[in-house]
């Protein structure tokens, strides 16, 4: 009878795990339904086009303007500028750790990079506010150090660990046989890294970059604290901006429940969600598409 009991236990376990798995999917689904339910009503007031491409975000004036174009531009530009800083730094750190550093150095540096990921975003935001902002203000003689550049820099700090550790795994998993094959042809270590190792790990590195970026675009606290908060289309990277998450976080508390402003903020949330969804789909696509790299199979 023990056989039967074991089978039964197995079945119970299986259904238990199934319920747990469905539960998290269900919660995800509920959040999405809620997001759309609370966001879509705004489109009774403004058209989708005017909402997305309207240049003015004055949700509390009379009559209010609900154009989130400046917020979208702010999010994209902050993420883009932070990518320009974080990608080279993150990937180069990964190359250094995986290919060049001695074992001892790697053992020290790696946990430190990972620790950077453990820093609460409010701490990074605080650092940007108290240290970086006055510094920028002094050096460049600007009216405010809380701006697009500062926010991008802080976001770069936050995405470097993601980019670095995923890239490092990708580089590390390139078979040694490829490195040896390259060196045996008279390539230098440098040429081997640039022309063989990096191309062979490009899918992992791309995934790393996109995940890092999707973390940056959704990040709220840092941009709330250091981006400057002006809902204008920036003219230079030293202008203050108001990315979507900052706008939502700053205004939600004062927006009247189920008023137009409230709906508009949820609709902004939908747009933000679509952005991160897009990033993740791309990341997935790339890692599937270039899966077959590395050592030849016989």
């Amino acid at each position: 009878m023990t056989g039967n009991r074991r089978k039964k236990a197995e079945k119970t376990m299986k259904s238990l795990f199934f319920i747990i798995a469905t539960a998290s999917v269900a919660v995800l689904g509920m959040i999405m339904i809620f997001l759309f339910m609370e966001g879509l009503p705004i489109f009774k007031e403004v058209s989708v086009k005017n909402f997305l491409f309207g240049k003015y975000w004055y949700p509390t004036s009379d009559p209010p303007d609900f154009g989130i174009f400046p917020l979208i531009i702010a999010s994209i530009s902050v993420t883009g500028v932070s990518a320009v800083m974080a990608i080279p730094l993150g990937v180069m750190t990964a190359v250094y750790l995986a290919e060049l550093a001695s074992k001892r150095v790697a053992e020290i540096v790696k946990p430190m990079v990972e620790l950077l990921a453990a820093l609460p975003s409010v701490v990074i935001g605080f650092f940007g506010m108290v240290v970086v902002a006055p510094f920028l203000q002094d050096i460049f003689d600007m009216p405010t150090g809380l701006n697009l550049f500062n926010a991008s820099l802080m976001l770069a700090f936050m995405s470097i660990p993601t980019i670095c550790s995923i890239s490092e795994d990708a580089i590390y998993s390139v078979p040694n046989a490829l490195r040896e094959g390259s060196l045996a042809l008279g390539a230098t270590q440098w040429e081997t890294i640039i022309r063989v190792v990096l191309p062979a790990s490009i899918s992992g590195i791309s995934t790393a970059v996109i995940l890092g970026m999707s973390r940056a675009i959704g990040e709220t606290m840092v941009v709330l604290m250091v981006a400057g908060g002006a809902a204008m289309i920036p003219g230079s990277i030293f202008d203050p901006v108001r990315p979507m998450p900052a706008s939502i976080a700053a205004e939600m508390a004062e927006a009247p429940f189920r008023g137009e402003h409230y709906y508009a903020l949820f609709a902004t949330g939908i747009v933000l969600f679509l952005f991160t969804l897009f990033f993740n789909v791309i990341a997935d696509f790339i890692s599937n598409r270039y899966r077959q790299v590395g050592e030849a199979s016989l």
Partner: protein, 254 residues
């Protein structure tokens, strides 16, 4: 010693992985345009020895070399030697085919590019020649721009040979190049070695006595890190001097 026909030689070579001594006092000479086979039981140090000849072991941090390896009379472990140019002169084909995840064409062109050849027609010419030389041309001529990973194992190995030949080395090291291949692919590679010997000095590790007998002029027998016996292949296989050698080649080993 100053024999003009000696391309490469090792003199009293000792090799260590950390504290483990993997090669003991190996002295061996390789003549120009000859094929030398290295045989011996698994773990006896054949690969280690081969990888000393193009300093591939430099990549292993704990390793250490004592003694000399001479290429045309010059010690390659001398500090003034440039490893990159050494590896260009002493090419290597690995046991497992290791094509780069690039196109077939780029796999062969890679060595040329890293060696500073920029001229497009020159690259094209040498890629074509090397693939032809490696007896692969007919099978790949219509798909040069496809990924090399789509080739069969035997084709990949011949591509790796083509890749090694493209940079026109003087010596070609082969570590069991046919161990993962079927008899037909193996035969092609053996025929290829016959062709290549017109031009190159070849050193090949093999586990197959028949293969050693078929392709090589000289055979060296290694056992637990020591060179036991070396001689003309015909002599070594028919009249070995030492009992150990005889036991190994007749399969009575234990």
């Amino acid at each position: 010693m100053s024999d003009n026909n000696i391309k490469m030689a090792s003199e009293h070579l000792d090799f260590y992985y950390g504290d483990f001594k993997a090669l003991h006092d190996v002295s061996l000479q390789f003549r120009k345009k000859q094929v030398t086979a290295l045989i011996g039981p698994s773990g006896c140090g054949k690969s280690t020895y081969l990888r000393c000849l193009n300093r591939m072991n430099d990549l292993i941090p704990i390793s250490r070399v004592e003694g000399k390896i001479l290429l045309e009379g010059e010690d390659i472990y001398n500090t003034s030697w440039d490893v990159v140019s050494l590896r260009r002169r002493v090419g290597m084909v690995f046991q497992k085919p290791n094509p780069f995840p690039k196109t077939i064409f780029e796999n062969v062109a890679y060595g040329l590019r890293v060696n500073g050849i920029r001229d497009k027609s020159e690259i094209e010419k040498r890629v074509t020649e090397s693939i032809q030389q490696a007896a692969l041309w007919d099978e790949v001529k219509d798909r040069l721009q496809e990924s090399a990973l789509g080739l069969s194992g035997g084709q990949q190995q011949r591509l790796c040979i083509a890749r090694a030949l493209a940079v026109e080395p003087e010596v070609v090291l082969m570590d069991e190049p046919a161990s993962a291949l079927d008899p037909i692919a193996t035969q092609k590679i053996e025929e290829l070695i016959h062709e290549l010997k017109q031009q190159y000095t070849i050193i090949i590790v093999t586990h197959s006595m028949q293969q050693a007998a078929r392709v090589s002029d000289k055979t060296a027998f290694f056992y637990i890190g020591k060179l036991i016996e070396v001689g003309d292949t015909d002599t070594l296989f028919t009249r070995p001097r030492l009992k150990q050698t005889e036991d190994y080649i007749t399969g009575r080993f234990g």
